[in-house]
């Protein structure tokens, strides 16, 4: 168990229950570790708080996408109706803005939705075909019925034996090191 720090991604422990997972994460963070991540088969309530995750950027990106879609969509229709392809219909004003509202609305929703989804994927750095955690054979259970905690080797406090001991203290099963290749 004496690999050099750069060859391992971290140490991983397994839990059978979301409550145990949250308890473990709280303990590990209380011990001063910061590069900690948890893996679960469904979003666990309270896990983000336990990991100290802050508000994320998805909603801001979504707002910007919506504004771009809405303002861009309206201005585009305005430009088409008044200068690119003006049609005089019974002398009515070219900028017949109430008629542009439905398309403006739809484009606002389209822009915001695309931004929310693509923004979420980009911030999560997905698609990402491979990740060191997949090297752990039991990690296939992370998508069905088991919960995992990983203390990453990038943590300044990281020490293999100590992290393994800490995971034992919080009653993790199958404590394994995660190789980094």
């Amino acid at each position: 168990m004496h690999l050099h720090r750069s060859h391992i991604y971290g140490v991983m422990g397994e839990f059978g229950d979301p409550a145990e997972l949250i308890h473990a994460v709280e303990k590990i963070r209380a011990a001063g570790y910061r590069r900690v991540n948890a893996y679960s088969p469904f979003p666990v309530e309270g896990l983000s708080e336990a990991l100290g995750l802050k508000r994320n950027m998805v909603s801001t990106i979504c707002l910007l996408g919506g504004l771009a879609g809405g303002i861009g969509g309206f201005l585009f229709q305005y430009w088409v109706a008044t200068s690119a392809y003006p049609l005089n219909i019974g002398g009515r004003p070219l900028n017949s803005w109430p008629a542009f509202i439905p398309v403006t609305f739809e484009l606002t929703i389209l822009g915001a939705s695309l931004a929310a989804v693509l923004g979420m994927l980009a911030l999560n750095k997905l698609p990402q075909p491979h990740h060191p955690v997949f090297n752990v054979p039991r990690f296939t259970h992370a998508s069905s019925d088991r919960f995992f905690v990983c203390i990453e080797s990038k943590d300044p406090k990281f020490h293999l034996e100590e992290c393994a001991r800490l995971l034992q203290e919080v009653h993790a099963h199958h404590i394994t090191e995660v190789s980094d290749d």
């Binding site: 896990l47 542009f100 939705s113």
Partner: protein
């Protein structure tokens, strides 16, 4: 509901009619749902059903091929009835496509836990219904290869779409709805695709599901953003659902044709869309839970709730019919009065009375608890409502167009063989897609079912 009963979400009611069968764990829901896709052998029934549906879809392909060769003259449409089956079927399908996103988005925002086991296939149904709907206006243009003219693009002719036209609004509404529904469905699928990737044994399956899941690993940091994105999508899809059928109703309401030019159309179309959408969800859910033994996940509580939504939206639709009558009579506009009389006494009166029977009278049986808990009755009722909602669109399109302002512009409409072949063919396409979907993707959201297991086990503590 009688006064003595406890409120709907009280623990007693939840125990009596649970949203998930007892004794399920994270592992058991994962096993049961993923097994349908991964390990369960494909049944003979699936092959037979798929073959029938696929043959019917083949008929659609032939009908559309013949249409492209000969032109829209093979249909029963002619001036003054330019819309006919194509638009009737378009509105019918797009209406059916409303339940999926409604269940996913609005019931999600309202924190209705019972939506969990039906949202996935309802969303799939939405996508397939929108796909069927999209075919009709496309081929109705007569020159479907020119359909890109409807999208704004810098053409060498310097031509731009007419943004004041409801038909262009429709293009934007339906394509936005299709795109957002697809994203909503796919985002919901990502964690389940990862489950399938991790549980599949065969290499090609691992690769396909692996690519589709994009390397999802259930990281807490990912879930954190995922939940934000999902909530935002739900919030965005909610007004979108309401807007789509509103815009579809504008196709009619903006015109000055008697029977179309009314302000009741947007809400009454939206209610009708939800009505027919829930009917179609029941039409699919009832055989699905039977065929795959999913009674633990799609419980009587789900069927009961869907029946109640149908009853409520059906009453709104009935109110819409009443207001159409009332406004026509009260306005004293002789064309509107004449149109109402034509509905009651004209050549298409049998359709109107069949519509009242299917959409208003028969569904009143749903007031009865016994009827709502009889699976066979619910299934038949859902078919009746589907037929009724199709008749509604037929009545709206055909009666108004055949009885315009002056008698010289009156006409008659009857569909031809090719009209029917295209319409029934799209049903084949819809069922084909449903068959493929339940075979290759999890028909119930596994990740959300695990959440439900976690929540129900907390409730019991």
């Amino acid at each position: 509901m009688s006064a003595g009963q406890p409120p709907m979400d009280s623990p007693e009611i939840r125990r009596l009619t649970p949203v998930i069968g007892p004794g399920h764990t994270y592992g058991s829901v994962t096993d049961k749902i993923s097994a349908i896709v991964l390990t369960r052998p494909t049944s003979l029934g699936w092959y037979i059903g798929f073959l029938i549906a696929f043959s019917v879809m083949g008929m659609m392909t032939v009908a559309i091929g013949w249409l492209i060769i000969k032109g829209t003259g093979i249909w029963g449409i002619n001036i003054p009835i330019g819309w006919g089956f194509a638009i009737v079927n378009f509105v019918w399908w797009i209406g059916i496509g409303h339940a999926g996103t409604l269940i996913s988005a609005i019931l999600f925002l309202l924190n209705q836990k019972w939506r969990t086991s039906i949202n996935r296939f309802a969303e799939a149904m939405t996508l397939f219904a929108v796909a069927c709907a999209g075919i009709f206006p496309l081929i109705h243009t007569g020159r479907p290869w020119m359909a890109f003219y409807m999208f704004p693009y810098p053409s060498t002719m310097g031509l731009w779409p007419q943004f004041r036209s409801p038909l262009i609004w429709d293009v934007f509404a339906v394509s936005t709805y299709g795109t957002v529904s697809l994203m909503f469905w796919f985002v919901g699928l990502i964690p389940d695709l990862a489950t399938l990737r991790d549980r599949s044994v065969k290499k090609p399956m691992k690769i396909i599901y692996g690519m589709l899941s994009m390397g999802w690993r259930g990281s807490a940091r990912h879930w954190h953003r995922y939940q934000s994105a999902y909530l935002l999508l739900a919030g965005l899809a909610t007004p979108l659902v309401l807007s789509v059928h509103t815009v579809v109703s504008f196709d009619f309401a903006i015109a000055i044709v008697p029977g179309w030019h009314t302000t009741i159309f947007p809400p009454y179309f939206v209610a009708g869309a939800i009505y027919s959408g829930f009917a179609m969800v029941l039409t699919i859910a009832i055989p699905l839970r039977k065929a795959y033994g999913l009674e633990d996940f799609i419980t009587m509580r789900h069927l009961d709730n869907m029946a109640k939504v149908m009853l409520a939206t059906g009453l709104i639709v009935a109110y819409g019919y009443f207001i159409e009558f009332f406004m026509a009579s009260y306005s004293g506009n002789k064309f509107d009065v004449f149109l109402v009389q034509q509905r009651l006494h004209g050549p298409y009166a049998p359709f109107y009375f069949a519509l009242i029977l299917c959409n208003i009278l028969i569904p009143q049986l749903l007031w009865s608890f016994k009827m709502r808990h009889n699976v066979v009755v619910l299934f038949l009722m859902s078919i009746v409502v589907n037929i009724g909602m199709w008749l509604e669109r037929f009545v709206i399109v055909v009666i108004s167009l055949t009885r315009d302002f002056v008698p010289s512009a009156w006409g008659r409409y009857s569909p031809t063989f090719w009209d029917w072949a295209t319409f029934i063919g799209t049903m084949g396409m819809f069922v084909t897609l449903i068959f493929l979907f339940v075979r290759v993707l999890p028909a119930i959201s596994i990740a959300e079912m695990r959440e439900l297991v976690a929540e129900t086990s907390e409730d019991e503590k």
